[in-house]
């Protein structure tokens, strides 16, 4: 046996699982066909945050007068904005390389496929440096991730020029003057927010009845208003019929409530969901169960094929890096025979637009559907001292408590820094806090987080500053 564990895919699911495996004394190898850190570090979470920061600072420059400041004619150098984003990705990519060396994890560059074997499938790697290498382990974890969904039949297929996926959208040669973003999930909204901040005319097309459809409806509504204030335009409940390209741009034919309309722009971004990377891995021959484009797994990420596990995006939604890491850790600890931690840990979700959106647990609608009676608390940042001082009064904190037990069942926020603040609620839910603990917690003053406290108080009619 060459290894105890082989992990296929070095994204935030795979590489984190590899580190824990090594910490638990398992001899570990990780196979990566492209770049350590996966989409998250190289083409997703991290480089977009670098871009968004540039956009946010640039946007602030237009509001300097609000703070009593002045600067002449803010400008940006788009090439340098992109360069910075790539540098950030590069730094973290080599950071993962260091972590792999530190934990004595063998990194094999190449493309893996699986063949039948015991106690776990064999991993056959077409190596980047040439040649094929077959390795075996007691356990194989698939962490191959996902990629942008495309719909070629209606022209929703990136061509790298006029039509982009997240990948092309991250490294264009120039910022587009006008842009159509198809899909209003986190990815679509973040790019829309970024390019709007740099001055582009941006139209977002969403097939469902509201933007950010996974968020609580109140948040969706508030987000749409906030984005519209910044000049973003939306077409909601709009089905894309066809995207056609010309030399100068794209034309997107949409249908909204029976009416058709053709939108035109310089570029388009396709952000209509993602599909799992399940192809060419030899999964069919092994009898791995695949539902649409993701691998079906149990609570410990086992696939049902002896010794084979799948974690992260390839194992299905939510498609979030921290969900992949969490599954990876749990899977490896399970493999190593460690007792399950048994925490009913909810997975927070964040959208890093301006304003930011963050949530954890159930939405109000989901709680109702589940038949739970809830108490709802709300607190707007416009009544929060720190928010007023910072000039960031947009948004609110909404909390949901089980009416019978007082358990915190969901929290939904929109506003400045809420992607940092959400951890407070995530921790509270993981520890099974009730309203009593949230009420009893002392929140520092002045902070934006006081709005979290007030929201919890509001749910029980005890709000202080509203």
């Amino acid at each position: 046996m060459d290894f105890d564990v082989i992990i296929v895919g070095a994204g935030p699911g795979g590489y984190v699982a590899a580190i824990r495996a090594s910490q638990l004394g398992l001899k570990t190898a990780i196979v990566e066909r492209e770049a350590l850190g996966g989409v998250c570090l190289n083409w997703g979470c991290i480089p977009t945050k670098a871009l968004l920061k540039s956009g946010e600072v640039y946007e602030q420059l237009h509001h300097l007068a609000d703070y009593g400041l002045a600067a002449d004619k803010p400008r940006f150098d788009f090439t340098k904005v992109v360069e910075r984003s790539r540098k950030v990705a590069g730094q973290l990519n080599s950071g993962v390389g260091f972590l792999m060396r530190k934990h004595k994890i063998e990194v094999i560059e190449g493309t893996a496929r699986l063949e039948k074997g015991t106690p776990a499938p064999k991993v056959v790697i077409a190596q980047k440096r040439g040649g094929e290498r077959t390795i075996q382990a007691k356990h194989v974890i698939l962490a191959t991730g996902a990629r942008a969904r495309t719909l070629p039949q209606i022209g929703l297929e990136p061509d790298g020029d006029r039509v982009w996926s997240y990948r092309e959208a991250m490294v264009p040669k120039a910022a587009p003057k006008s842009l159509i973003v198809i899909g209003s999930g986190a990815i679509g909204i973040e790019f829309a927010s970024f390019y709007r901040a740099l001055g582009a005319e941006v139209m977002v097309v969403e097939a469902l009845s509201r933007i950010l459809p996974v968020e609580d409806e109140e948040v969706s509504t508030a987000a749409r208003k906030a984005f519209e204030r910044r000049g973003l335009k939306f077409r909601i409940g709009a089905t894309v019929k066809k995207l056609t390209k010309s030399k100068t741009g794209v034309a997107v034919e949409i249908e909204t409530g029976g009416k058709t309309e053709t939108l035109e722009a310089e570029r388009a971004i396709v952000a209509v969901g993602i599909v799992g990377n399940v192809e060419d891995l030899g999964l069919e021959a092994l009898g791995v169960k695949i539902d649409k484009t993701h691998i079906v797994t149990d609570a410990h990420s086992a696939t049902g094929v002896p010794g084979l596990y799948a974690i992260g995006d390839v194992a299905g939604p939510p498609w979030l890096a921290h969900k992949a890491s969490h599954e990876g850790l749990h899977c490896v600890e399970h493999i190593a025979g460690q007792p399950a931690k048994n925490l009913n840990a909810p997975i927070p979700g964040c959208t890093y637009a301006n304003p930011q959106i963050a949530s954890v647990g159930l939405t109000e609608a989901a709680a109702k559907t589940a038949g739970r009676k809830v108490k709802v608390g709300r607190f707007a940042f416009r009544a929060n001292g720190k928010a007023i001082a910072a000039g960031e009064t947009e948004g609110f904190v909404k909390t949901l408590f089980d009416a019978e037990t007082g358990a915190l069942v969901g929290a939904h926020m929109i506003g400045a820094e809420v992607t940092e603040m959400i951890q407070g609620f995530a921790l509270a839910m993981t520890l099974e806090a009730t309203e009593a603990e949230l009420h009893a917690t002392v929140f520092a003053h002045p902070t934006l987080s006081e709005a979290m406290h007030e929201s919890a108080l509001d749910a029980y009619g005890l709000v202080l500053h509203a």
Binding site: D4, L24, P339, N344, T405, L431
Partner: protein, 425 residues
Amino acid sequence: MTDILMPALSPTMEEGTLAKWLVKAGDTVAAGDVIAEIETDKATMEVEAVDEGVVEEILVEAGTEGVKVNAPIARLSGGTEAKAPEPKPAERTPAEAPPAKAAARTEAPTKADPAPAKRQEGERIFASPLARRIAEQKGLDLSAIKGSGPHGRVIERDVKDAKPGAKPAATAAAAPAERRGETRPVQSLQQMGIPEGSYDLIPLDGMRKTVARRMTDSFRDVPHFPLTIDLEIDRLLEARGRINKMLEKDGVKVSVNDIILKACAVALKRVPEANASYSPEGIALHHHADIAMAVAVEGGLITPIIRKCETKGLAQIALETKDLAERARTRKLKPEEFQGGTFSVSNLGMFGIKSFGSIINEPQGAILSVGAGTKQPVVRGDQLAIATVMSVTMTCDHRVVDGATGARWLEAFKALIEEPLAMMV
């Protein structure tokens, strides 16, 4: 520089006692040199160096108890990386432990329904705020609920479906399998009226702790009952004499106990229902009679195993028991030599004990306690006669071996002992 790490000598080992150093700082060691002795709950094992180098520093002194697996115990210069040294006998690292099995074991309790747990009066109960709230609303006694959260914390799902009225005393016995290893907190001797200074205190070593834990668990959790029967062993003694005469030239001496072990194995094949173990999944009927024999050693006892005893001849059994007993006394047994087994035999006949009932050696279904063979008056027909009579007591786990099953086994065993020739049939 290489840190030498505390090795795991068995898959379940978490800590051990660093019994003895065989090297000191400044010594040069080569790969394969024995550098230390480690005492686990069952045995003492030698630790070999994996790398060559000079011992720079001893980090854990000899005699230190409770050294965690993978903790650095010494530093070697000249090496390249931290490595757990190769323990001579037994498995190497936790990584090589059969993971599925280990996982299954650790997970089992978490899947259990809310199970009652015993706690001492006034002991702090770890429970999540939500669990406390729900318990209060439903009128549940939190101290009666076993927590499945981290460090045994009671969390929502432990109380969600629990029914009120679960009192620890009333229900503690209902789910004993879920809470192994927790013994009732023992009151201090002072609390029980024995003044300090009036006794010498011998620290609990690994073996003593294991004996205490396993015996407490078994006696408390296994519904056991004894069955006693008298056996006449004159024919056995006579047969033994002839066998030993035959084996004299080979220097092998068969003991009465060896014949008892063999008879047990044959009887277990004849009444296979007695060769069984209870598990939550079902009753395991073992394919072979792996007979464990209790060996008293300094500081405790250990039960090395004669595997597939039914397939072995008396000469081989005699050789194996001698070897196992000797190595048990010097604590040189490998874990696989004393872990497992399907049936146990404990013999106190040599001390003149007439009869006694042993505690079941889990997960075995029964244990046989063998008393002394003594000449006694017996009634044959209406005549008084003299026979050598030996009393044996079979302690049965009632979950797998019912009274009638035990009786049938003893009947089969008695037939073999009273007519050893029957073992040939």
